[in-house]
């Protein structure tokens, strides 16, 4: 029995609510633009996908907001939206868990305080640095504000963290350790040092003359990913419980695979072998054959190496006729530790809408890549079927989720 999704919330560069997010994905436009959060004049890369128009005051008092890094502000807001959608949980707070993923935690705060330390010395470092920068702050704060005293932890597996968080949450429910889990991911690491560091790795697109076309998953002219920020959270509960309390079910988590390449700290394993096994684990967990998957929501970062390895992995798992593939990262950029959660939501929305969003900026398939059917240009009609959503992180961490449709409403 899949785990039911009864609430979803997100804060992304292409939309601050589900409707705007979905419309943004379907438009095929990219949210990339010049960075506004700091001066980039010394940087080779000057653009990213920022979350615009986010009013933290809707969710937090000025005092609360002042003591939370932006990553936690975004994560908390997404979780509040998801909980609002889920309605009255009717749960014992001791049986409500929170699992939150992030890549790096409160980097904005850390960087600001490091600068203060360098300029003014040890006694000027904020007493709030530790609680604001720690990677577990988002998980902790969601629980603190709602009084959820059940299991609570943070998953830090780079770009796989959001998917891992949802998968681990599903396992908490399956093992009976919680009745409800708030699970997702948050990231806000577009900082001067963060941007410089990802660029120095050679991971980022340098298409500064035309940022809106920089993130182009699986395209022949891709040259790296575009940094993004944002958050996505889901409310998960056992299917029977969701039905019993009359909750609206938006779909389910049908399977979860996770493993590690153990090959290289940043490069994917040759032939995408780790990713192949990860997808197979998720399918086995869901009890599904590859042919039953209706679409693959690719990790699709737009880096030369990731997309090549993932295309090869997908063709290995699905054989000669893989289902249609799309990547939200053409639109959103790379949300790092939030990506897997936001993308799980994207796949559930696609299943619900009966349409797969296009991969923004995908124009010309690379002939050298394994042949995958990348949806581009416009949304493509989609028959109701489970989806596979991939997330692969630096460190070799792989996580794949199987998302399943909600049952059709009973006739009459």
């Amino acid at each position: 029995m899949p785990v039911a999704v009864t609430g979803m919330g997100l804060k992304t560069p292409v939309g601050l609510d589900l409707a705007a997010f979905w419309a943004g994905l379907c438009s095929g436009r990219s949210a990339a633009g010049p960075i506004t959060q700091f001066d980039t004049s010394e940087h080779p890369v000057t653009f990213a996908c920022e979350v615009g128009g986010f009013d933290v005051g809707t969710y937090l008092s000025p005092k609360e907001a002042a003591h939370l890094d932006r990553v936690t502000q975004l994560g908390f807001a997404a979780a509040v939206d998801a909980l609002a959608q889920a309605g009255d949980l009717g749960a014992d707070p001791a049986r409500v868990a929170v699992v939150a993923g992030t890549g790096v935690g409160g980097l904005i705060t850390l960087e600001k305080e490091v600068t203060k330390y360098a300029e003014k010395g040890a006694m000027r470092v904020s007493p709030f640095l530790v609680p604001m920068m720690m990677s577990n702050a988002t998980a902790a704060f969601i629980a603190l504000q709602h009084g959820f005293t059940g299991p609570n932890f943070c998953v830090v597996t780079a770009c796989a963290a959001g998917a891992n968080a949802i998968g681990e949450a599903a396992r908490l429910l399956r093992s009976g350790e919680a009745d409800v889990v708030i699970a997702g991911g948050a990231e806000s690491s577009i900082t001067p040092v963060g941007l410089a560091a990802f660029n120095r790795m050679g991971a980022l697109s340098r298409r500064r003359d035309d940022p809106a076309t920089a993130s182009r998953p699986f395209d022949a002219d891709r040259d790296g990913f575009v940094m993004g920020e944002g958050a996505g959270f889901l409310v998960l509960e056992p299917w029977d419980r969701a039905v019993a309390r009359g909750a609206r079910i938006y779909g389910g988590i049908g399977g979860y695979g996770r493993n590690t390449d153990a090959y290289h700290i940043t490069a994917p394993s040759p032939g995408g072998d780790g990713a192949v096994r990860c997808m197979q684990l998720a399918l086995e967990d869901a009890g599904l054959a590859p042919g039953e998957i209706g679409h693959v929501n690719a990790h699709g970062t737009s880096t030369p190496l990731n997309d090549a390895a993932e295309a090869e992995a997908i063709t290995k798992v699905f054989g000669g006729s893989p289902p249609p593939v799309s990547s939200v990262k053409g639109s959103t950029g790379h949300l790092i530790g939030a990506a897997g959660a936001v993308e799980a939501i994207a796949s559930l929305l696609a299943i619900t809408a009966g349409a797969l969003f296009p991969t923004a900026n995908h124009e010309r398939p690379e002939p050298a890549l394994a042949p995958v059917d990348v949806v581009h240009g416009a949304p493509r009609p989609l028959a109701p079927a489970p989806a596979l959503s991939n997330s692969f992180g630096f460190g070799g961490h792989n996580a794949s989720l199987v998302l399943v449709p909600a049952p059709a409403p009973a006739a009459g």
């Binding site: 005092k63 000027r124 904020s126």
Partner: protein
């Protein structure tokens, strides 16, 4: 700087750092109970005072400081010692 001027400066630090209304910042106000300032917020507040008044307040001197008036006494003593 006289006590009244110092109080006004301290009050503005409290408004900025503790996110309270200026009216709540009286000499009798207790940091924890009346201004909702926990130990971390108090340290942040003292950092703001240090910058505002260009003084240095070692942590051990904060022992026993529970009200705004006591904090103001501490500031006045620092200013007097400097003069």
């Amino acid at each position: 700087m006289d006590r009244s001027e110092a109080f006004t400066n301290l009050q503005s630090c409290a408004v900025d750092v503790l996110h309270v209304d200026a009216g709540a910042v009286t000499e009798e106000a207790r940091f924890k109970e009346d201004l909702d300032a926990d130990s971390l917020a108090l340290i942040e507040f003292v950092m703001a005072l240090e910058e505002k008044f260009d003084i240095s307040v070692p942590e051990e001197e904060l022992d026993g400081v529970t009200t705004v008036g006591q904090a103001l006494d501490l500031v006045m003593a620092k200013l007097a010692a400097r003069a």
